[in-house]
Amino acid sequence: MNIKYLQYIAICIGLTVVVFSCSSGDDDTGGQTPPEFDRAAMLANYADNLILPAYSDLQVEVDQMAADATAFESEPTAANLETLQNALKSVRLSWQDANFYQFGPAETVTLRASLNTYPTDTDKIESNIENGGYTLGSIDNIAAGGLPALDYLIHGAEVTTEQIIAAFTTDPGASERMTYLVDNVAFVKSRVDDVVNSWDPAGDDYRGTFLSEGNGGTGVGSSISLLVNAMILHYERFMRDGKIGIPAGVRSAGVPRPTATEAFYGGYSAELAVANITGYKRLVIGGSGSGLDDYLEFMESDELSNDIQDGLDQSINDAGQLTDPLSENIENDNDGVIAVFTSLQEVLVLIKVDMTSVLGITITFQDNDGD
């Protein structure tokens, strides 16, 4: 064999290897493409370790409140009132972890609007008590029911415990007021029970829908799109604005609205805000499991993931400086409150613009037909 012949063979082998490797690359993409992020596992973590436990905890607290309301109705004592007040606070704290998931069952029963529309309309509440014939959950009563209405009913505005009890026992219209209280507790319970049953695999099994393969993509209507849109809408409108911005006056030409705080009558709005932001961070990181932070890191956006988490830590810290009652904090030192708003605003951009861009999720809320 001469050398030329060897060269020829070598070239042939070389070409064959090239052709072979090219064709195998084309035909068998399975082993060649970069691995996909396991969204299914992440969604399962959200469903089983965050959403379902949050609703379940909320249901436990609401059941307790219902029992305490019944006890107060039969024995309207100062001790039973205090127990009920504490139960309401537990419900409201528990709500801070359950309020992020306004899609599917929660949207169907308008859970957030039913449970937590504030500031509550005290005139409407009083007129409902006086006139009866109200439908809790209707648009007309959207600001006259739910947890903020209970806040008003059992704490009252600048009144003593004795006066509150008298309003339910001896004052004119006392029994109607008690009925309104009990109706509201039942209203809250029915909505929460509906949502729990809808998610329940043994009930309507929305969990199954949420985790179904068909909803596993990232398009509009996919489970991750619903989750991310709901969490961003919540952040912007109900956490940043509702809990901080609106009471601090950022939506009213700088004129503060202290009565627009979440728990104005109970006076623990700052505590609720801290709980909500803390819950938000837990939501971003998926608790101790696979979360949006992992998804971002998988997409090589570690810095963004870190910035979001650091920003939320900063907001938790800033909100921790607020004092209750938040309404008084606003009146005495509104700058400190506005600082929390600013701190929250910085993270919003990261979540709403940068995170959705990396994950390829379209913002669908504020959908306006333009007519």
């Binding site: 169907t108 648009i139 209507g221 409108r237």
Partner: protein
């Protein structure tokens, strides 16, 4: 080398058989002269109605051709000119298919050739009425090179509703709205809406309104209510339960004018006219047997026009839908301003994320196929497409209603009650539009339940609850199962 031999034998056999056949069939009088014959490749001929079907005949008569006649469907035979005495001749006979014939109708043409020895032979051809045109890609039809489509009257009425809407928009912004202006625009007083239209027209909306709505003063009452409410709006009075006035839409910051039950006048009137005029005219007039049934004139053109009455009636039904002529699914976003009213709302529910409803294409195809079928006098297809139009146009109204129910739920949920009143007004008006089809799947009882109870007890939007909205949605999805797969995505 076997094949060529076999082929020869085969060929000879065929000729032999043919010869035998010809002999057996000929009217041989035994004088020993070969009988005449007709050959032709045209046993089955197809052509559009009103056009000529050509049948080519090859005649031969060894004793000389005497005459050729044709009888259509057993009718009186008529002579066809021939070269008398010739032994062979090629003749092309052009049969004019009656313009009134329907697609697929067949005509039997029996030709009889007589030779000079009085021997005869027969040949039969069948002429079938075929299509004059295939269904075009766009809604464009011509006759003799000129368009045969015209629906200027419909465009005028759509323009009128647009200008009425813009007057109502003033009320939403807090301006006073004049009842008289609205009445004049509705009845097109003086051909220019009492001076309120930017154009003139001899058409009007009022005389095309669903008769029972006219009886009930449906629009007149809304005009009066809107005008009265606008005095509240003009004072900046915020609407509340029992009080008409303005409500802020949270997404835009704009206000809307609502009645004491929270219903937005602009939506009730604009969408109300989409139902009571546009859908009413499509459903109860132009798609009815009276205008597009099999008995409607479809041969003679309307005096001075380039269309038959039936063609024009379908075009008028199309004009009330008024899409771009090449409308389809999905429709590109950059061309969204080319559709309006019903075609616009078809597009709203056309391309939803979880599988398209695809109503743009379904409805567009139905219109195009129906129109082509009318040209072809294809009554079966025309009637199938009319059924399709009834069904799909109704589905659009139901789907848009669900779309706005969903919008209301999410607005309520987001705490945007102003948006909720707006979207609920839309949902109410689209439910209302379902009333107008004589073939509707939903019952009037179901509609009343949705509009007067589910959307708020006692017909009052202030009473609406998520339960009521979900009940209405369930009813619609049950009656229109096509919506089931997309009910949460609409």
């Amino acid at each position: 080398m076997i094949y060529p031999i076999n082929k020869q034998i085969y060929t000879l056999t065929i000729w032999g058989l043919l010869a035998l056949f010809t002999l057996a069939c000929s009217d041989d009088d035994g004088e020993g002269i070969d009988p005449p014959g007709i050959t032709s490749g045209d046993m089955q001929v197809e052509a559009g109605r009103g056009t000529e079907a050509a049948i080519n005949l090859a005649l031969n008569a060894p004793s000389g051709i005497e005459s050729l006649s044709v009888s259509v469907d057993g009718g009186t035979a008529e002579d066809i000119p021939v070269n008398t005495g010739a032994t062979t001749q090629s003749v092309t006979y052009n049969y004019t298919i009656p313009a009134a014939s329907t697609l697929g109708e067949q005509f039997t043409l029996a030709f009889t050739l007589t030779d000079q020895g009085s021997q005869t032979t027969n040949y039969t051809a069948t002429v079938t009425t075929g299509k004059l045109i295939e269904t075009p890609a766009t809604y464009e039809f011509t006759r003799d090179g000129a368009s045969s489509v015209f629906y200027g009257g419909q465009k005028d009425r759509l323009d009128m509703v647009e200008e009425i809407k813009s007057v109502l928009g003033g009320g939403d912004a807090g301006d006073l709205v004049s009842e008289q202006v609205l009445l004049d625009m509705y009845a097109n007083t003086g051909g220019n809406g009492g001076g309120n239209f930017t154009f003139t027209s001899d058409r009007q909306l009022k005389d095309k309104t669903f008769a029972p709505d006219l009886d009930d003063n449906f629009f007149e009452d809304l005009f009066a209510g809107g005008a009265a409410a606008s005095t509240n709006g003009n004072k900046g009075i915020t609407a509340s339960n029992g009080t008409a006035g303005l409500i802020v839409r949270e997404n835009s910051g704009n206000t809307i004018l609502v009645d004491e039950n929270g219903r937005e006048f602009t939506q009730l009137i604009e969408k109300g006219m989409m139902g009571s005029v546009f859908y009413n005219q499509i459903f109860n007039v132009y798609l009815s047997d009276d205008r597009t049934g099999d008995e409607v004139e479809n041969v003679e053109l309307v005096d001075g026009e380039n269309y038959t009455p039936m063609e024009h009636h379908l075009d008028e039904a199309f004009g009330y839908w008024d899409p771009p002529l090449d409308f389809t699914s999905p429709w590109p976003e950059e061309r969204e301003d080319e559709d309006r009213f019903w075609s616009h709302y078809s597009n709203t529910v056309d391309n939803v994320s979880n599988g398209m409803l695809g109503t743009n294409e379904t409805i567009m195809n139905a219109y195009k196929e129906a129109r082509a079928a009318i040209v072809n006098n294809d009554l079966t297809t025309k009637n199938e497409m009319r059924d399709e139009l009834y069904e799909s146009l109704e589905l659009v109204a139901a789907a848009v209603c669900v779309h706005y129910i969903n919008g209301t739920l999410s607005s309520l949920d987001a705490g945007n009650t102003g948006e909720a009143f707006h979207t609920l007004s839309e949902a109410w008006a689209f439910a209302n539009a379902l009333r107008y089809s004589p073939n509707k799947k939903i019952t009037l009882e179901q509609l009343e339940q949705i509009m007067e109870t589910d959307f708020g007890a006692d017909g009052n939007f202030w009473n609406v609850t998520s339960m009521g909205l979900n009940a209405a949605k369930t009813t619609l999805v049950t009656v229109y199962p096509d919506l089931d797969a997309v009910k949460d995505d609409l």
